[in-house]
Symmetry: C2
Subunit: 221 residues, 2 copies
């Protein structure tokens, strides 16, 4: 075992930075948006959960929607960063796809509170904010599709339709936000490992069947 892999305990999640009171309000809003939804959450509930008066919300944020936007943008950026870092961590399409799906699914489990707001509260954004979020989502989608296409090009993957396969790969991770429970039997890492295996099956990758020998290095663990 190396010193910094595998069985390390749950790392501290990166939370909202900057002014602590502002961060407490964002945390309170995140918790409530995640379980009750944006429209099921009042600004008074957010304030109360942060231990402040109802009006304190408007000291730090102009509107309730702007709070949602901050949370959604940060969350989308985190998810995108996870995918880009996974791609950078490996050299071949099979290695990259495995890392993407493992880390994307793990992120949706570990950060399921945030991920639920990210994936299921987009309809409450203003059109302008929705456009900014949509750009981040396209970036993530295109990054995954690029790896799928590269794997097909190299003969690593056997895929009938790259578009529906890309959607399916993303769906596996995204839907984790819906069903994952912190008190359930599965750790985020376990979900990630299982889903990474399933991802390689989805793209028809059988180790040793590709044209490129250097795949094996990225598959060894």
């Amino acid at each position: 075992m190396t010193s910094d892999d595998g069985a390390r305990p749950q790392r501290t999640d990166r939370r909202f930075t900057g002014d602590p009171t502002r961060a407490r309000l964002l945390e309170a809003a995140l918790d409530s948006f995640s379980t009750k939804g944006f429209h099921g959450t009042s600004t008074r509930m957010i304030a109360a959960r942060a231990g402040l008066s109802p009006a304190a919300v408007y000291v730090h944020h102009r509107t309730k929607e702007e709070i949602l936007f901050q949370i959604s943008r940060d969350g989308h950026q985190e998810a995108l960063d996870v995918v880009l870092a996974a791609i950078d961590s490996e050299a071949t399409p099979p290695g990259r796809l495995r890392a993407i799906v493992r880390d994307f699914a793990t992120w949706h489990a570990r950060r399921h509170t945030l991920a639920r707001v990210v994936q299921y509260e987009m309809a409450a954004l203003t059109p302008e904010h929705a456009d900014l979020i949509a750009a981040l989502r396209r970036h993530t989608h295109n990054a995954v599709r690029g790896v799928v296409l590269a794997g097909i090009e190299r003969g690593d993957f056997t895929v009938r339709d790259p578009e529906s396969t890309t959607v399916a790969l993303l769906s596996l991770g995204i839907d984790v936000a819906r069903w994952y429970r912190a008190d359930g039997a599965w750790t985020p890492q376990r979900v990630g490992e299982d889903y990474a295996e399933l991802a390689l099956r989805l793209v028809g990758h059988s180790p040793g069947a590709s044209r490129n020998q250097d795949d094996e290095a990225s598959l060894a663990r």
Copy 2:
């Protein structure tokens, strides 16, 4: 071509039955719940969309939550019926799994308005209603898991973990409700066919590799 398969045009979806005014209210509620969510929908919006006065909602329904429950229960029952009918339509685990995922994904695309309420508005139900819905969901889950386990038993499927594989198979269909757009490039049938192929990959089914020759009958199309 046989007379009643394949290219038949979109069939008329089964809608709410019984009293027409009541059905109009349920349709109006469904449309609004689907795009704005339960908490983002007022009873006045429902009434207006049905062409009635605000109080008319309470002629046919006791509370707003009861409207959601009716829609959610009917929708969950439809989805369960789709899965059970798919199982009945085939004799072998590979045939059954293909039919399940094809029809489950097709249903989530064709009925994406209803499916969004079914999959994403459960948190707004009363605890009693949530329990009834949970039983329908367990029934669906267990039916799919049974086919996965039967396929493993027969040697048709090679699966590392039946539980996470079952969750993944259901996730593929459920997440269709989130991303499917009626004005997009894909027909519900196309989504279903693509996803059925992916499902057999997920369970490690390679035609001809199983111990049972009669699989081929269910795979021929």
